[in-house]
Symmetry: C2
Subunit: 175 residues, 2 copies
């Protein structure tokens, strides 16, 4: 890829991580290599399965998780902070490696929001992006400075949600 | 799947079709079968490649295109209308077949906007959804009635876009 940009998907609506997954698949389909770092979510998502079920995708997409879900309800532990900082280091290495065309920092805005690391740490990660790499940042609560430093920002805005009908997250649809 | 809903992704921002693609992959990964009908876009997108490159996905996702891009700049021809109506029929058949758990009508809002068929035709398609099927509708300009009849609606809102920097759609990223 000639020139990469920084894309941000934020807002309280559905589709942020799903769009990032779609982007990863599309990039892989065209022969690119993709690194996905997932902050916060430590659950076993269906998207992990596909990388095992499909060798081509497994060869083109590397996915690593740097967090658990639990501290959203509790205070982050030292272990949560350590894992999140490992994620930052890995993403920097992935961007600099020359291997990956697209690097996805999934739910990283939430990691800032819950103070696993500072806004400056994320801004510094954005600044360290080499020219040819596309960096995708997702998660609610993108700060003004993050938006300022990005090239493309989409807000997923919830207009209507069936959670109000009592629907739980369903395997294969939401997770 | 016990119970399926109707999801709408609309708005002028990026990520609508990409989120639908991500949703298709996630559903397929969990063993579901997905039918994708693409209205408007007749181009050769990278996402078509992956279904050929990855047998597992090819077995779980059926993708058909019912339109071209050109009439956005011209008046739709009789052929455009005929293809779009074929899309409606195929989506209805896919929903009723018992084969597909998730049915995606990609850019179908735009087909209504350009009067390839009426809003009522789309509302009728939505009403014909069997209980167990998840129906995903994408495209800018979702009408009030479409939103009213959906269970979940997300507006992708453009906050900032690098098109203003003169970036063209790039293979593997935007298409």
């Amino acid at each position: 890829m000639e020139k990469g940009y920084i894309q941000v998907y934020t807002g309280n609506g559905k589709g942020k991580t799903t769009a990032a997954l779609g982007l990863a698949i599309r990039a892989a389909a065209s022969g690119m290599h993709v690194y996905i770092g997932q902050f916060i979510k430590g659950m076993h998502y269906s998207e992990l399965d596909i990388l095992e079920k499909c060798r081509y995708l497994g060869d083109h997409i590397k996915l690593k998780q740097y967090g658990k879900d639990c501290f959203i309800y509790n205070k982050p532990t030292e272990e949560d902070v350590r894992m999140a900082l490992k994620g930052i280091e890995d993403l920097k290495s992935a961007m600099k490696s020359g291997v990956y065309d697209v690097v996805i920092a999934d739910e990283i805005n939430i990691a800032v929001y819950f103070k696993l690391f500072s806004e400056d740490t994320l801004l510094d990660l954005m600044r360290s992006k080499p020219d040819r790499v596309e960096l995708i940042i997702t998660g609610r609560k993108a700060t003004e400075k993050i938006i300022e430093q990005a090239d493309l920002v989409t807000e997923m805005k919830e207009i209507k949600h069936y959670y109000t009908k009592g629907v739980q997250a369903r395997v294969g649809i939401e997770k």
